[in-house]
C-alpha cells in the first residue's frame, strides 16, 4: 500500500483519527507522518518529568499529605515557580530555585547523575575567586597530611606557608 499523503513511498504506519466522532483510517509513510503531525515525539524533558513525578509520589499516604501541603506553599521568591510546577515541567525557573527547592533535590540529582549530588568541576574564575582559593587550600591540606605522614617536614613547612598565604587572601577579601 502506498502512502496516502505523498503517494510515493510505501505506507509503513497506520493511524486511526477520530474527528467529531467520525473515525478515519490513515496509512502513511514515516516521513509524511512526521511532517503532517500524525506522530508527535516526546520532548527532551519528557522522561525526566515522569521521573520527577515518580519521586514525589513514592511516599506513603501520610507523608504524601504533608508533602502536598508543603508543595502548595513552596514558591521561588525570584521567579515565582512553585514546587508542583517544577515537578510538572521538570525544569528550574531561575538559579534561585535551586535554593528554594533544595530539600527535594538530592534524590533527583542522585537518580539523574548516577548517585552524585555535588559539583566537582570548574569554578568560575572571577565570581568563584574565594571558592577557588578554598578548594586550593583543601588540596594543600591533604598534601600537608601526606607529607607529615611521610615525615617530609621541610616540604610540609613550605606547603603550610602556602596555606597561610592563601588564607590571608580570603580573609583580606572578607574584611
Amino acid at each position: 500500500m502506498e502512502c496516502q499523503e505523498c503517494h510515493q513511498r510505501p505506507a509503513t504506519l497506520h493511524f486511526t483519527q477520530v474527528i467529531n466522532g467520525d473515525k478515519t483510517e490513515v496509512y502513511v509513510c514515516e516521513v509524511c507522518a512526521k511532517e503532517k503531525g500524525y506522530m508527535t515525539y516526546p520532548e527532551e524533558g519528557y522522561s525526566l518529568h515522569h521521573l520527577l513525578s515518580g519521586l514525589f509520589t513514592s511516599t506513603n499516604e501520610n507523608q504524601q499529605n504533608t508533602a502536598r501541603q508543603q508543595m502548595s506553599n513552596l514558591q521561588c521568591p525570584q521567579c515565582e515557580m512553585t514546587l508542583s510546577e517544577f515537578k510538572r515541567v521538570g525544569k528550574f525557573g531561575c538559579s534561585q530555585c535551586y535554593q528554594t527547592f533544595e530539600d527535594y533535590l538530592d534524590p533527583i540529582f542522585r537518580r539523574v547523575h548516577s548517585g552524585n549530588t555535588t559539583h566537582h568541576g570548574k569554578i568560575p574564575a572571577r565570581k568563584g575567586g574565594d571558592m577557588r582559593i578554598r578548594k586550593q587550600v583543601d588540596a594543600y591540606r591533604d598534601e600537608l597530611q601526606r607529607l607529615i605522614k611521610n615525615e617530609a617536614f621541610e616540604e610540609a613547612a613550605t606547603v603550610r606557608d602556602k596555606i597561610k598565604e592563601l588564607e590571608k587572601e580570603i580573609g583580606g577579601d572578607e574584611a
Binding site: C6, C32, Y41, Y98, H119, K122
Partner: protein, 354 residues
Amino acid sequence: MTLQQFMNEAISPWMREDGPDSDIVLSSRIRLARNFSQYSFPILADESDLEHISSFIREEYEHQSFQDYQEFSFIPIQKLSPVERRVLVEKHLISPHLAEQDHSSAVLISKNEQVSIMVNEEDHLRLQLYYPGFQLTKALEKVFELDDWLEEKVNYAFDEKRGYLTGCPTNVGTGMRASVMMHLPALAWTQQINRMIPAINQLGLVVRGIYGEGSEAKGNVFQISNQITLGKSEEDIVEDLQSVAGQLIEQERKARNRIMEQSAKRLEDRIYRSYGILAYSRIIESKEAASCLSDVRLGIDLGVIENVSRSILNELMVLTQPGFLQQYAKKSLAPNERDVLRASLIRERIQLEN
C-alpha cells in the same frame, strides 16, 4: 550559484581540515551551558529580560574575536526564515530547540564556524566548540578559555555545592556535554555496535544518531556523549569519553581489517554498488543516500575508491538535508521533489571530482 560555490558556503571551514583519527572520528565537540545569575531562565524570563541579555551579548561580543577563531557575527533567530533556521540546525551551529524559539534569541558564530554561542536557548548561553577528528582534550582546553573570556563580563549562576546552575536538572554541575561523532560502518555491519551500546551506557555515556536525542544513526554515524554532568570533573568526563571512543576506534579498525581479509570482493562490490547509486540515480531518499555515502566513505578510507575526497560524507550528509536542498532550489520542495534534487546534487558533486 554553482555547486562548488554553494558547497563552499555550506561546509564550515573547520570541517575541511583533517584531525587525528579522522578516518573514524568526524568531529569532537564540547558544549557548556551557562546562565546569568540575575535573570530567570529562558522558559520563565520576561521578553524584556531576554531582549536585554541578547543585546548585552551583541554589544559585548559581536565583531570581537576570540583567539584564533576570528570575529563573531551576531544572528538574531527571529529574523531568520524557517529554511534559514533549518540550515543552521543542519550545520549543527544551533540546536533544533533554538530554531523553534519565538522569543528573543540569537547565536554568535565565529567566522570559521568552529565556535558558536547560542543565546536564550534552554539556558541563557550555550557555548559550543568543534574540532575536526579526535581532539577532545584540545576542545576542552579551548572551551575553558572561551568560558573564562565570557565570564570576565557575565555574572554566571554558580553555586558551590551544585556548580553551574542550569534550566534542566540533567545539565547541572559542569553544564558540559562532550561528544564525538564517529563513522562506524564495520561495527554496524557486523552488528557489534548493538552489543557495545549497553556497555557504553553503563559507563554514563550515551550513543545516539547524529541529530541528537531520538534520531537514528543515519549513515552509520554515531554520536557518543556524556550523560552525567554532576559530581565528576570536566577532565574526568572527557577522559572517560576519550577512552571509550578510543576503544571504539580500535574495534572499528579491527572489524574493517577482518572484513577486508575475509570478504574483500564482497566489500568492494558493496562499495562500488553504492558509488554507482550515488553517481547515477535519479531519485534518492535521505536514508539510502546516507547509507551509500557511508559505504563510499569507507571505500575512500580503505583505498578502494581513490578519486573522491574524504570530506564527501560530511559534505553530502549536510547538503542533502531538507533545509539545504530547499535553500539550493530557492523554493520549498515536497518530499518527492527533494528526492529528485538530492539525487541530482549528489551526481553533480561526484562528477566534480572525476
